[in-house]
Amino acid sequence: MSTATAPTSGARNIKTVQLDEIVIRFVGDSGDGMQLAGTQMTNTTAVFGNDVVTLPDFPAEIRAPAGSLAGVSGFQINLSSHDIRTPGDQVNCLVAMNPAGLKANLADLEPGGILLVNEDAFGKVNLQKAGYEVNPLEDGSLAGFRLFKVPLDKLTTEGNKGSALTARALGRCRNFTALGLVYWMFNRSLNETLRWIDAKFGKKPEVAQANANALKTGYYFGETCETFVENYQVPKARIAPGRYRKLTGNEAVALGLVTAAKLAGKELFYGSYPITPASDILHQLSIYKNYGVRTFQAEDEIAAMTSVIGAAFAGALAVTGTSGPGVALKAEGIGLAVCTELPMVIVNVQRGGPSTGLPTKTEQADLLQAVCGRNGECPVPVIAPCTPGDCFNMAIEAFRIALEYMTPVMLLSDGYLANGAEPWMLPSEASLPKLRVQHPTAPNSDGGFMPYLRDAKLARPWAVPGTPGLEHRIGGLEKEDVSGNVSYDPLNHEHMIKTRAAKVAGIAKSLPKVEINGSPTGGDLLVIGWGSTYGAINTAVERCRRNGMDVSSVHLRYLFPFQQDLGDVLKRFKRVLCPEMNLGQLSKLLRATYLVDVMSLPKVQGKPFMVRDIAGAIEALMKGNNGR
């Protein structure tokens, strides 16, 4: 981890150790402000110029019983001087605000790792709640770590002597005291966070002051307390030049949707019902009113879906966002959208299932639901972003497909992408795709307007209400080809089923070729994944290649239909391994589509893959291979 050391100036002899990369995790009660501390650390780090990937991890309960294991909230940051793609397998520095946080997270801390604990929170009651019989700070059980016992509560109070705030209110600032100490330890500037405090609490000067004091108190404690003999510096990363901001996947989806509307010269309608982890898209879009974005908090998931169908019929760029349980409720509506062949996007920010499942945890188990989960032959294109920033691109791509092919499109994000953040380079407008929308203004046949008269891509015309002479009726009953009139004719039904299927299958013609990371001509092993496993898979595969293994990877962003050359690519490799946060759903689709013996590597723990999970599986396979 460490490369070089250099003494810093100052009264004390503090060494600053240079590191390539460090993984820090803040843990505490769900009311301890860990998400806030983590977000601040992320912003400061991104602005400094490190590459950064984050993993927030919080309970479904807003305030689970204080001090309990169930209520532990965490935020992990990987900051690096080089390009990184995962929040890190192993924690190098754990900041534990209470015994429960320590207990739930200690296993992830590397041997010899830095452990900062709030010793003021290690009283009898908290220890009991966390299930500690003896205080771990005193029984020697933490001897394998660099333990720093910090009186965060006392420091926070002392740093705010004379404050008008109550002791309780001051107590809420201790996350900033901890953050200040972390800033000192990793040589971060206080300026970003001080500015944020000022903007956030400007109207409550005493609260702003208390938080600023807490931050500084923590920082100065690091500087002066003789327990600390070294601190750390992670130099700036060499990343592509440009202007950057930090973006979570949910923010990126929102930006992508607004951008798509602008590119199409349309206004956006977002109908949604609040659901974790998708609600932030609704929040984000509701502030873009000056972009003509209309957000509609519907009475339920079904109304969200069907209002979007109405808005699409009326000519808007319409979107709904939800998570798996919401998609289940929307299924009949999605079928109606398929039958009426209107353009719209359904965003599924996947979470742990089945049923209510693990609302705040990540999973990829809605793939088969997305591809197959409706009554009848009901093809819906399915695409998936692979990083938080890619959510922006794929939201635009979803509308590109929806508009070109007159079809609903499912965008599969997940909780990890949604809440994870990374630096995102602001795109130039010229680099963005063009989206074309055409509404007919005159009848398309001698017999009047035919709503199901298709173009070369089998897309039907999008005639909107208010256009004279194009009055027509559509709905969920089977349509007669061309005229769109209700038809129960058996052969017409089969023709329409096949036509809808062919239309969606035809989307593949518009997709880019499969990109192979590694050996394009084939080899021993291909690791194939989709969605948020991108970082872990690519990092693992690159590590194994450096170790001399003949392994390549492919990451799918198009799940239905697949890219045209995918079958060919799969057959170039002796073996195919598919890591997924489900029990093998993509494996199943690949096997069924291409008759390739894909091996599944499932992980369904509500947590993303570690690099070592995948690298370990690759190594085991390759060893077996060599042994033959």
Binding site: A298, S307, G310, A316, P465, G466, T467, H472
Partner: protein
């Protein structure tokens, strides 16, 4: 097609589609369709601006039979589809056609929320107190004890009263009419069309196959005058063939009184469709056959800003304050930093 020609005067015929109507012969739906087609050309709205949205059920085939834009959606969801249409296109005249099962059973939630938001949509509920398209099961408005295909020993579900539900959902316009009373139905439809906000109209509709003569007491020539009460704003509640009976309030309970003797018209309850509080409208919605004559006409007509107007006001205000959003401003927002 041309923009320069003044709009020709349309007639009911212009609103007929080329589709064969597939309702059972003798169905009350025919009469409602005829009255709607008669009213539409009188509203001064171009034909292409009308959108008819429906759910599932016999009544929900309606959009196929009018030559406007139409959307035959899925069971119960028409109010939500219509909401999406109206929010993004406030210039359109949006009508929801629904039935007692569609609106009050599977779609109950959407009905409530469309009404409370007061979107400027017209909801016409064909109430025949039975499930027709699924062939004769009881509906949420079927009488307690009703024997149907799914309730051979009689229904043990207590019925809902559509107008009471609408009033409870903060409706700004509530009315009732009858399929065969074409003149009355036409008047009520004109009033509903003119209301700025959600207009909820219950139309008693005869299903001659599965629930024949359900409304004979208000439809039959011999019985109707004694069993219906025509509501008129500002007028006392009088009914009967000889207009000799009225409704008086006894405490908070309505009672039927005989006019003449010591009971004067001034002693009766006077209708006020514009009353701010919905108390009177609700009381009227609770008057049921055979205990009371059933009120027909406009129960309630009050003004409240529409949902889509408020939504679009916010859009307008945001644009006025912040200017039209640009992609540059969208991207370059919050903390940014430059890497050289």
């Amino acid at each position: 097609m041309s923009n320069n020609v003044t709009m020709p005067q349309l007639t009911a015929k212009d609103f007929a589609s080329d589709q064969d109507i597939r309702w059972c012969p003798g169905c009350g739906d025919y009469s409602i369709l005829a009255q709607v087609k008669k009213v539409l050309p009188t509203l001064g709205i171009p034909r292409e601006k009308f959108v008819f949205v429906s759910g599932i059920g016999c009544s929900s085939r309606f959009p196929y039979y009018v030559n406007t834009f139409g959307f035959h959606s899925i069971h119960g969801r028409a109010p939500a589809v219509a909401s999406g249409v109206k929010i993004v296109r406030p210039d359109l005249s949006v009508w929801v056609i629904t039935g007692d099962g569609d609106a009050l059973s599977i779609g109950g939630n959407h009905l409530l929320h469309a009404i409370r938001r007061n979107l400027d949509i017209k909801i016409i509920l064909f109430n025949n107190r039975i499930y027709g398209l699924t062939k004769g099961q009881y509906s949420p408005t079927s009488e307690f004890g009703k024997k149907t295909k799914s309730t051979p020993m009689g229904s043990v579900d207590f019925p809902l009263h559509p107008l009471s539900v609408a009033i409870g959902a903060e409706a700004t316009f509530v009315a009732r009419s009858l399929d065969v009373n074409t003149k009355h139905l036409e008047e009520v439809l004109v009033r509903a069309a003119g209301h700025k906000g959600t207009a909820f109209v219950e139309v008693y509709q005869n299903c001659n196959i599965f629930n024949d003569l359900a409304f004979e007491y208000v439809a039959g020539k011999d019985t109707r005058d004694d069993h219906m009460l025509a509501l008129e704003h500002g007028k006392p509640l009088i009914f009967g063939k000889n207009r000799d009976r009225g409704i008086r309030l006894s405490g908070t309970t309505p009672e039927i009184v005989q006019l003449g003797g010591d009971v004067k018209e001034d002693d009766l309850l006077f209708h006020d469709e514009k009353a701010n509080e919905p108390t009177l409208a609700y009381l009227l919605s609770r008057m049921h056959h055979p205990d009371f004559p059933e009120p027909m006409g406009v129960f309630r007509a009050v003004q409240r800003p529409t949902y889509e107007a408020l939504v679009n006001q916010q859009i307008g205000a945001a644009r006025a304050q912040q200017g039209e959003g640009t992609l540059e401003a969208l991207f370059d927002d919050g903390e940014t930093w430059v890497v050289n």
